[in-house]
């Protein structure tokens, strides 16, 4: 292949010199990563730092009757052994509920289990030692006596009267329930020419970040300050939570986030063992480090997607969809995760199902139940893969039943591109989507007709290929409607501060964070463009609560759309300030001047007047030469939060082309396509790579990834040899296309793109496999992952 720079498209409003909007600018921070010179939290070493390892419950549910620590305390290198009861004197428990999820309930969760362990892997005792190895040696010497309790593992029976209640004070095992009805679903189904029903099952899976969760906490009693080096997506949120539960003021806590080895939503939650680390540092008055090992990651990193959705669709003979109905059940472990809760994924499924279509007859129920397994919470694309696979699975089953081409059925039902603004059946609001244009683009890009012909030709030779689609919508740029209105101290606004340094370069501090998405590049592009300097002259600083504007961080596809807009506005503000100084020096009107390529020029002629280094020199070192009363302000801060729309919905469509070996049940992914609309594309390469990476994560869900539990709540495959993740050899090349419908809620018009790939891929792959198997008379497979065993069972071969 050939690597080429694309040329900037002619974006009128943004088409200034130094316009980097719409260009594939390389990320400024990559060399340190390619040279092994990055600093991940797992690399951090501090003076007097000690390491902690945890004794974890081997049982899914057990009363802790005794913890024998004497031997461990005497072991070489061991500094302290701390039980849950001892640590509870330092850090308070928490409850993961939000007021806008009406009726959601959970129980207090401790940093280390007190009296009772509620899932296999919950920490029951901490051993702090001079090295991790010695801490683990110490753990081996702790004897915990357990009285095993009945484990509630099956979500289907969690609400049965005969099932034990995990938290008796709550009365039952129901965490949250939402019921929604819109239009007239009964009439829709009654009048339909056909009703198609199916039960979709989604396997529990997890994020498997390549760098496990890592934290170094350093309580300095002399300063009365806690500094936490933390691999997190939300430093300010964590600052608040560490302070709150340690009884500190927020300004006593500094969270520093440098390089993060993968996040995907895994690193945006409160983890009990991480709360234990900050508490241990406060207790022991020295830095404490914890890096989860891979086994610990599998039993404690949040899981996601364990849903069973019974669903139906009504359709008329002409293909018109008349109604949707879903009943979702999900088991989320013993606690709703703090502070975002474990009700959001089910809530999203209710919000998003049927979302691309005009049909407004909709009934939904979602129930979230407790169980004695690892906790579940928000992971990349939260709820989208499920809502999309259910909706699109039903659509393709209906198309097959009616004998209508699946793309054609979508054409007849997708919300028309000129039908906006409008609302979906769940009440979600769309500003401007482009389903039909995306579909047309995809149809051409993949040569759909040609592929269908190839499929038919090969079918005659006994080669079974399938084509599957998934139209989708994605929630991006969340406003306060996502968490803030429910009482969570999670910022939906974000800020950027830009400063002209003394040599004319620009420093930008931003509240959004970088975990590999390219945030630093996008922010630099926005600042350089708005201010008028070569991008090399912009340095971006992220991930430090002492030094960046208050903000939410990077999650829910918000960094570019929200952080980028704040940076854009800050760059413009600094430009105004600098031009005021230059005008004062040059005795000109600011409106007659501009900044281009790092030089103050005459706006009309482009004639160079003054270098930025000279502006800075005069303002910083010779302000005495400026007119009396004039004060140069070479630093500007701006904040941004979406206000007109609760969320900036994006949309798109994916297609998967697969070949199924009907003897082995193996699926070969031949090709994957995605056309999506994330509004203004700030950096095409970064958007495409977000889409590709997201699709591959979705493929993992469709074909490979599954946290397998037995009926006693034991995770059976908690290692990377048995838990399958997508590797290079099995993955297809992926073509990405774009349609651009900017949001009018910001000047840049950028929406998010981080989750679109993961949202659509599982449904597209499932539909493709079923398209391959349908002529063989196999019933549709609606349980993920679509393993060879499930495929062979559908074919009646095992």
């Amino acid at each position: 292949m050939k690597i080429t720079d694309d040329l900037p498209p002619g974006l009128t409003a943004l088409d200034r010199p130094n316009s980097y909007i719409g260009r594939s600018v390389p990320r400024p921070n990559l060399a340190r990563l390619t040279q092994g010179r990055a600093q991940f939290v797992s690399d951090v070493v501090l003076p007097r730092m000690a390491h902690v390892a945890f004794v974890r419950s081997p049982h899914a549910h057990a009363r802790i009757t005794a913890i024998e620590t004497a031997t461990a305390r005497k072991a070489p290198g061991v500094i302290a052994v701390v039980t849950g009861a001892e640590l509870a004197k330092v850090i308070t428990p928490w409850v993961g509920v939000l007021t806008h999820l009406k009726g959601i309930k959970s129980a207090p969760q401790h940093a280390i289990a007190v009296e009772r362990a509620c899932w296999q892997g919950e920490a029951v005792c901490a051993v702090v030692a001079r090295s991790r190895a010695e801490a683990e040696d110490g753990c081996a010497l702790i004897e915990v006596s357990y009285e095993e309790l009945p484990a509630v593992t099956d979500a289907e029976t969690a609400l049965d009267p005969a099932t034990p209640v995990i938290h008796p004070a709550l009365g039952d095992n129901l965490t949250f329930e939402r019921v929604h009805s819109a239009g007239n679903p009964d009439q829709g189904f009654a009048e339909a020419d056909a009703v198609v029903e199916a039960t979709f099952v989604f396997g529990r899976h997890t994020g498997v970040t390549n760098e496990p969760r890592a934290i170094v906490a350093d309580w300095n009693p002399g300063e009365q300050r806690l500094t936490v080096y933390h691999g997190t997506q939300a430093p300010h949120m964590m600052q608040n939570l560490f302070a709150k539960h340690l009884g500190l003021e927020e300004h006593q806590v500094r969270v520093i986030t440098k390089d993060v080895g993968g996040s995907f939503g895994i690193k945006v939650h409160t983890y009990a063992d991480e709360m234990a680390v900050v508490a241990l540092s406060k207790l022991l008055r020295r830095p404490i480090k914890f890096v989860a090992d891979r086994i610990e990651s599998f039993v404690t990193d949040i899981h996601a997607r364990d849903h069973r959705v019974t669903a139906k669709i009504g359709v008329n003979k002409d293909g018109t969809i008349t109604a949707f109905e879903i009943d979702d059940l999900t088991g989320i472990g013993p606690y709703s995760v703090y502070p975002r809760t474990s009700g959001i994924e089910a809530n999203q499924i209710v919000n998003l199902t049927g979302g691309p279509y005009t049909c407004l007859n909709y009934r939904a129920r979602a129930r979230v139940v407790f169980q004695n397994k690892n906790v579940m919470c928000q992971y990349r694309a939260v709820g989208h893969p499920i809502a999309t696979a259910v909706t699109e699975g039903l659509v393709e089953l209906a198309a097959a039943k009616l004998g209508i081409d699946p793309l054609e059925l979508r054409r007849r039902n997708l919300i028309p591109d000129d039908g906006y603004p409008c609302s979906g059946a769940s009440g979600i609001k769309f500003e401007q989507l482009s389903h039909h244009e995306c579909l047309a683009h995809l149809d051409a890009m993949m040569n759909y007709a040609g592929l269908r012909a190839e499929q038919a030709r090969l079918r005659e030779r006994g080669i079974h290929r399938g084509i599957g689609f998934a139209s989708f919508i994605e929630v991006t740029n969340p406003s306060a409607a996502f968490y803030g209105v429910g009482g969570a101290r999670i910022s939906s606004q974000d800020g950027a501060t830009v400063r002209l340094d003394a040599t004319g370069a620009v420093i930008c501090h931003t509240g959004v964070t970088e975990q590999g998405q390219g945030t630093e590049a996008v922010v630099a592009q926005c600042v350089a463009t708005a201010f008028g300097v070569p991008i090399e002259r912009v340095r971006v600083i992220t991930g430090d609560t002492d030094n960046t504007p208050y903000g939410g961080g990077t999650w829910a596809s918000r960094a570019a759309g929200i952080g980028g807009e704040a940076a854009w506005q800050a760059g413009k503000a600094l430009r105004g300030n600098v031009l005021a100084v230059a005008a004062s020096i040059l005795q000109a009107a600011p409106a007659m001047l501009d900044i281009r390529n790092g030089v103050v020029v005459d706006a009309d002629s482009g004639r160079e007047r003054l270098g930025l280094d000279e502006v800075a020199r005069i303002a910083y070192f010779r302000p005495d030469t400026l007119p009396p009363g004039f004060q140069a302000e070479l630093m500007a801060t701006r904040h941004y939060v979406p206000r007109a729309w609760p969320f900036a919905f994006t949309n798109g469509i994916q297609a998967s082309y697969v070949e199924v070996d009907v003897d082995s049940g193996f699926v070969t992914l031949l090709k994957h396509w995605c056309v999506e609309d994330c509004g203004t594309v700030i950096n095409p390469q970064l958007v495409d790579e977000q889409i590709r990476g997201g699709i591959v994560q979705g493929i993992g869900a469709a074909l490979f990834e599954h946290c397998l539990y037995d009926e006693r709540g034991q995770l059976l495959n908690g290692n990377m040899a048995d838990y399958l993740v997508p590797m290079a050899a099995e993955m297809p090349d992926i073509e990405v296309g774009h349609v651009v419908s900017p949001t009018a809620d910001s000047e840049l018009g950028a929406k998010g793109a981080g989750e679109a790939g993961t949202a659509g891929a599982p449904g597209a792959v499932m539909n493709a496999v079923n398209d391959a198997l349908r002529p063989l008379g196999a019933p549709a497979i609606t349980a993920m992952p679509l393993t060879p065993e499930r495929i062979l069972r559908a074919l009646g071969k095992v």
Binding site: I3, F264, G693, A721, M727
Partner: protein, 162 residues
């Protein structure tokens, strides 16, 4: 009972290092903890993810599956050494230009694995590249950009030789 601690001499990135090591310490932990060479990463500690890939006597190995004591007398090269020597500057540039890394945690291992494939001077097919990387886990990119970058370097190196 055999000795638990051993004196070893290992040539790390060209420097002779003499240290006493615990018999149970892996070479990647030795590099990271004793020598502060943190470019080699620890992802799974059971030989699956490839983040700890490094070179011992010219051959890539899993740093989590080899003990430091086994490296006594050996030549060990890490991403820091290979970078400073300029050996993979073209690969690194291609990865950066193609955005063949996102979080970058897998990248040192990925680069060393790629360099082993490309050392033969042959231009591998995309399938061969994918197969060669099948022991290196990347959660971020979906692999296509990595394959693109490696392919472009293979073609460029082959072209430069002609």
């Amino acid at each position: 009972m055999s000795e638990r601690f051993h004196q070893v001499t290992i040539t790390v990135n060209g420097e002779a290092v003499r240290e006493r090591v615990d018999a149970r310490q892996t070479i990647v932990d030795f590099l990271r903890e004793t020598l502060s060479l943190t470019g080699s990463h620890v992802g799974c500690e059971h030989g699956v993810c490839g983040a700890c890939t490094l070179r011992v006597d010219g051959v890539i190995v899993r740093g989590c599956l080899m003990l430091a004591v086994q490296c006594d007398g050996a030549r060990v090269e890490t991403i820091e050494g290979v970078s400073d020597a300029g050996e993979i500057a073209d690969l690194q540039a291609a990865f950066e230009k193609r955005n063949a890394l996102q979080c970058g945690f897998c990248t040192p291992g990925m680069l060393l694995a790629a360099q082993e494939l490309l050392r033969s001077g042959r231009v591998p097919s995309r399938e061969e590249i994918r197969t060669h990387l099948s022991g290196n886990y990347c959660r971020c990119t979906g692999y296509q950009a990595i394959v693109d970058a490696i392919e472009s370097v293979a073609q460029h190196r082959a072209g430069a030789q002609r």
